[in-house]
């Protein structure tokens, strides 16, 4: 799972699943949909996390410690991220983790 930002201020995110049950790698490209102040690399990374949990993945590996910290913060201390720039994404991620999945394992 990865987020990226190009020089023209365009962001994108991608999910790479190394080997699926069918025996090939599965890839997903994501348009995070940010604009203006929300056009950040952090949004791209959080968008990838959101799509992951929406697809029902329970084990995630990422190089974005920031995203994991923010998800953890939203889980344990929701008031601390009340005015977060990407609070909508965080809200959706945490909702899915709390009430739809049995176990989510995030690895940095």
């Amino acid at each position: 799972m990865q987020g990226a930002i190009s020089k023209q201020q365009i962001i994108g995110a991608g999910i790479f699943t190394p080997t699926t049950d069918a025996g090939y790698s599965n890839t997903v490209t994501i348009n995070p949909g940010g604009s203006g102040p929300t056009l950040t690399i952090n949004r791209a990374e959080l968008a990838a996390v959101l799509v992951l949990v929406q697809k029902g993945h329970t084990e995630t590996a990422t190089d974005s410690a920031s995203s994991l910290f923010q998800v953890r913060k939203r889980l344990l201390n929701p008031m601390a991220v009340l005015h977060h720039l990407h609070r909508e994404l965080l809200k959706d991620i945490v909702y899915l983790i709390q009430f739809h999945l049995l176990l989510s394992l995030f690895t940095k």
């Binding site: 990865q2 990226a4 190394p18 490209t29």
Partner: protein, 286 residues
Amino acid sequence: MKSHSGIIGNEGADHLAYKAAVNQISDVSLPPATDAFYDLIWLSIPNKVASHTEELRILTNLQDELKNHMHAHHYLGEANTDTLIYKLWQKLHNTPQRAAQPDSHTRQATAKPLEHAQFSNKFWSMPNVIFKEREQVLKYKTNTIHTGKHTKRFSHTTGPATCPLCRGSDSAPLLPFRCNNHTLKRMHIYRHHHAVSLCSEEISKGKLGSAIVTMDACISGKLSDLNIEPPDDNERNIPDWVFPTQQNLPTRHKSRPYGVLVMPIEGRGRHWIPNRSPQRTETYIL
């Protein structure tokens, strides 16, 4: 994992993200972000610049002045003072009415407030307690600590107000001792035994040391596993004479004192047998 370190999965995801950003081709598109600052407001008033033009003048920030102006009576604001928690809080400072009757000889009130001037609020002035800890304790005591209940009440979540660990109803009492999560439950038990042991140890060093009859902590084997050393010659079980009318009630095991001290009376010696009810003339501190 470390980024750009040659891990195949990470490099593959990196490539996909770059491809999505540059080529603007994506399998999944999230909805556009709403205004990130829609809930941030600043007060302003219309200000005439010329005869027909008008612009908004932003008002100054009065937060510091307000903080300086506030005093202890203002802190309550519009808080509901009819709650049980507020009454219990105030009760600490009040004098018990029965004991407040004036003494027949001196005509002065003999009662003291329930709180002890030296020990009751010692926590607030201890130098090794940081401000954040005091803030959290105050929030917990006043039931304003943020829980799932508050999240639901203030519409910060669309789901139920449950604890993410044990799925029980999330509230202030659940935080310190009611979460059924296995790890947290062990933490609660450890914290309880540690606190009870510390209190008993401190009491045993003082003038009431010989008055300890029982303490409500775990068996000594488990305590030693947790690196806790309980004081010697202490019984764990609360004796039956503490609950003379509730011998068989289940509530007896749910609500029990942390420790029992029986004050010796001069000339009688120590109360040595925990299972035997003390004499009526002795004083009990529970």
